[in-house]
């Protein structure tokens, strides 16, 4: 069977299921006791497994299968969720995503996942470093860190026993016993030791487990945890009576301290407070309250998937219709027929409604970009040893598909920046009297014809002095200008190319890509980005974006018999200048524009436009900008401002000089759109 026709659907649906899995995992991490979330993840994994097996992607199916097994064990409470288990599942989802992406890019979806599979296997067999409640996390890591035999792992049941026996006046001891190196019958010694211990009290746990001890599967050393009414001295003497025992070390097990230590060593920010509560009481009411409607499934709206290319075709046909409408309008005006006139007018209204609908079909909620951030922030927080909460609002805000595709990378960059340079370490935050956990607020909203995206952190803010010093040493500004800059202008210096305030290059944001790339990307989308900041209180990055890239506002100009469109986003203003005001500076014609010397670019020369009209005494100039550089584009006349549909020049003319695209005017003719960025050097 030819699977290609299903490939697209497969990829789309796989991405959706993986997204659901990541989202639900994050929710689950905050509400580890809510097994209905596990079910949700399980369902996604299960569907994905089925789909990938049908499509013949074995690796994908295998890894999903492993993950599914673990999830199944979790929902049946055979495995209890620990941060480590979460990490492994997240890794598995990452790998699955990479595989799906590889398939989407035409690859075979193969990937070396042996490590993750191995880890999943371990978890499934219960052999992971940690097997049960959060209380063990610390204990387990302590065992790993210190290699101490006397710290065991306790599950819920054992904890309860330890706790209750303490309340009843029993002592809890961890006893490390070392047999002599020349001990021949280790199992027999162990048996004798256990006999002694069981007379004195009750053994709760041993390390290694009793089965292994009986099979002599240990070196010279083993440890037990027991409750007894006897004192440690008495115990020690009794054990030492067993022959071939070398040393006996007895620790009193302090439940309070152990529990406290667990919490401190818990590296996961999200689990931090709740972990403590969890040990005291499995389901304290306030934890329940903290759940943010965990199992409310978003109502699935009735939608169909449409390939964006089809929408493009629809749009093209529609433009044809609009052009014909224009002609009909003209004809009906000329003929002056009332009936025709009314019909044409009705048609005009319908077409404008249709236009709105067609445009709206291309709108996608920013959610599609935002939803990959929580996972990223979680991972970064772990990598940086910071505690960060990401809050997202306005994810339903809609943007044109073309903008959505471009905006992801700049946002990732700004978020990384906020995590790395903005949010301080928990210690620093506490020292500053702030909440230990930093907060990043990602917000999207509409305003007029624009969409705004805000990234707001309550971190360290931008240190003006440091920015200024850096800009001075890097030669971005001079000492004279430095004195005149406003705070905002100083902050904006961090967008200058070759600027980085990071003292040490970190793995996160010191990748040689500066914020200037972010600024350029956003500006190439016809948007802008500004910063506001207060030292020690945080920073706000505000991105303004046009609603759509397919429709842009342009100024239509005439150069001899040709028409060109200049994007309004590049235009500062227009001016009419006298010929004699033009000055010459190094073979470059310039004008004085409000005290600033502007180079003049004669478009008819640059574009080699055939000359058909005589030159006039006055020149029409469009003042355009690229970053902070200005230039005057000399044209023959201004036609006016209009909204046009942006089109590409196609695959054949990929690199037309200083032209960013084309548009179709009302008369059906093509007008080229001038790319001001390549004209200004």
């Amino acid at each position: 069977m030819d699977m290609n026709q299903y490939l697209e659907v497969f990829i789309e649906e796989s991405k959706e299921h993986l997204q659901t899995a990541s989202e639900q995992l994050l929710v689950l991490e905050k509400n580890p006791e809510d097994l209905s979330i596990v079910n949700e993840i399980f369902r996604s994994a299960h569907t994905l497994k089925g789909m990938s097996a049908t499509m013949g992607y074995e690796d994908l199916a295998n890894l999903t299968h492993k993950m599914e097994n673990v999830l199944d064990a979790i929902r049946n409470s055979q495995i209890i969720l620990t941060p480590e288990v979460f990490d492994v599942i997240f890794l598995a989802v990452d790998d699955l995503e990479a595989m799906v992406m590889s398939i989407a890019e035409g690859g075979d979806g193969k990937r070396d996942v042996s490590k993750v599979v191995h880890q999943l296997d371990l978890i499934e067999k219960g052999e992971s470093p940690v097997t049960s409640s959060a209380a063990e996390v610390a204990a387990a890591s302590a065992v790993l860190d210190k290699e101490e035999m006397n710290e065991g792992e306790y599950d819920e049941f054992e904890w309860t026993v330890l706790q209750q026996s303490k309340e009843q006046g029993f002592n809890s001891f961890e006893i490390a016993i070392e047999l002599r190196a020349d001990c021949l019958l280790k199992a027999a010694r162990v048996f004798m030791v256990f006999e002694v211990l069981e007379k004195a009290g009750e053994v709760i746990k041993s390390h290694p487990p009793v089965e292994l001890l009986e099979e002599e599967q240990f070196d010279q050393q083993f440890s037990v945890t027991m409750i007894t009414k006897e004192s440690s001295e008495e115990l020690q003497k009794k054990i030492m009576k067993v022959s071939e025992v070398d040393t006996v070390v007895i620790h009193s097990l302090d439940l309070e301290v152990a529990r406290h230590a667990n919490v401190e060593e818990d590296k996961i920010a999200e689990l931090d407070n709740k972990g403590q509560e969890k040990n005291n009481d499995m389901l304290p009411s306030d934890v329940k309250e903290k759940k943010k409607q965990p199992s409310v499934k978003p109502a699935s709206s009735k939608t169909i998937r449409v390939n964006i290319e089809r929408l493009d075709i629809l749009m093209n046909l529609f433009e044809e219709l609009v052009i014909d409408r224009g002609r009909l309008d003209q004809i009906s005006n000329d003929l002056g027929n009332q009936e025709l006139h009314e019909t044409v007018e009705r048609m005009s209204r319908i077409t404008s409604d249709l236009q709105t609908i067609v445009l709206n079909m291309r709108m996608v909620p920013v959610e599609t970009v935002f939803n990959r951030f929580p996972k990223m922030v979680r991972q970064l927080a772990r990598d940086l040893n910071k505690k960060v909460e990401l809050e997202i609002t306005g994810a339903e805000t809609e943007l044109d598909r073309t903008v959505i595709d471009e905006i992801g990378d700049p946002l990732v960059h700004l978020l990384r920046n906020a995590m790395d340079h903005g949010i301080e370490t928990p210690e620093e935050r506490l020292a500053k009297g702030k909440n230990e956990e930093g907060k990043i607020h990602l917000k999207a909203y509409h305003s007029g014809n624009h969409v705004f995206i805000e990234i707001d952190d309550d971190g360290a803010g931008i240190k003006k002095e440091r920015v200024l010093n850096k800009a001075l040493t890097n030669g971005i500004i001079t000492r004279e200008t430095a004195a005149t800059l406003t705070d905002k202008q100083i902050y904006e210096l961090i967008f200058a190319s070759g600027f980085s305030t990071a003292e040490t290059i970190s793995d996160v944001s010191g990748r040689g890509v500066g914020l200037d790339v972010v600024k350029n990307t956003i500006e190439s989308l016809g948007g802008s980005v500004t910063i506001d900041s207060k030292e020690d209180e945080g920073s706000i990055f505000l991105i303004q974006l046009p609603l759509t890239l397919s429709i842009i506002s342009v100024m239509l100009v005439a150069i001899q018999d040709e028409k060109y469109a200049i994007p309004l986003s590049s235009i500062i203003e227009t001016a009419i200048i006298k010929k004699e005001d033009i000055m010459n500076a190094h073979n470059q014609q310039v004008i004085d524009f409000r005290g600033k010397v502007l180079p003049l670019l004669f478009l008819k020369d640059i574009f080699e436009v055939p000359i058909s009209q005589a030159e006039e005494e006055f020149l029409s100039v469009v003042i355009v900008r690229k970053g902070d550089k200005l230039a005057g584009l000399v044209v023959d006349s201004f036609i006016g401002q209009l909204e046009v549909v942006l089109k590409s020049l196609g695959n054949y003319l990929t690199s037309a000089f200083a032209i960013s695209g084309a548009t179709i005017l009302g008369d059906g003719q093509v007008a080229l759109i001038i790319d001001c960025n390549t004209l200004i050097h």
Binding site: F318, E562, S648, G650, N651, L653, A656, A662, G668, Q669
Partner: protein, 151 residues
């Protein structure tokens, strides 16, 4: 067994050329061409082809003939080639022919004729001589640069 090939026949400078019909997506009358500054010489510009911006190549210029004024018989043949839609300006186009594959011969060696490198063969049908065009080469921007250098 005589296999046949359907071709679109068009004229440039009184010679007849042919393109396989499966590469052609339409024949249009000449529409308003918008010049693209600094494009290679034979790219006359772009047109609005039912909402799609389509580049236009003047085959006369491409083949190294002199340019002529466009008139009523001038046609644009829209061809599709690897995702690219390109219009070819020809003097006239008015025939669709079935030619037996056996009638196609490799083109005779002609030295010094710049058009020769875009020709994949010739076919003699009764008294007509059809020149089959190798579209890949005719549209290639690289070959042209070489040609311009040599010229």
């Amino acid at each position: 067994m005589s296999q046949e090939m359907k071709v679109i026949v068009f004229k440039i400078k009184d010679k007849e050329y042919a393109i396989p019909v499966d590469k052609v997506s339409g024949i249009e009358k000449l529409l308003h061409i918008t010049r693209v500054p600094k494009a290679v010489q034979f790219v006359k510009g772009v047109i609005n082809l039912r909402g799609v911006i389509t580049p236009i190549i003047d085959l006369r210029v491409r083949f190294g003939f002199e340019e002529v004024e466009y008139d009523d018989s001038t046609r644009v043949i829209i061809v599709m080639l690897d995702d690219m839609e390109v219009g070819l300006i020809v003097d006239s186009a008015n025939d669709v022919l079935d030619i037996p594959v056996s009638s196609i011969e490799p083109q005779p060696e002609v030295v010094g004729h710049s058009a020769s490198e875009y020709i994949s063969g010739v076919a003699k049908i009764e008294k007509r001589l059809l020149v089959l065009i190798n579209l890949e080469k005719a549209l290639s921007l690289e070959v042209t640069e070489n040609m311009l250098k040599e010229g």
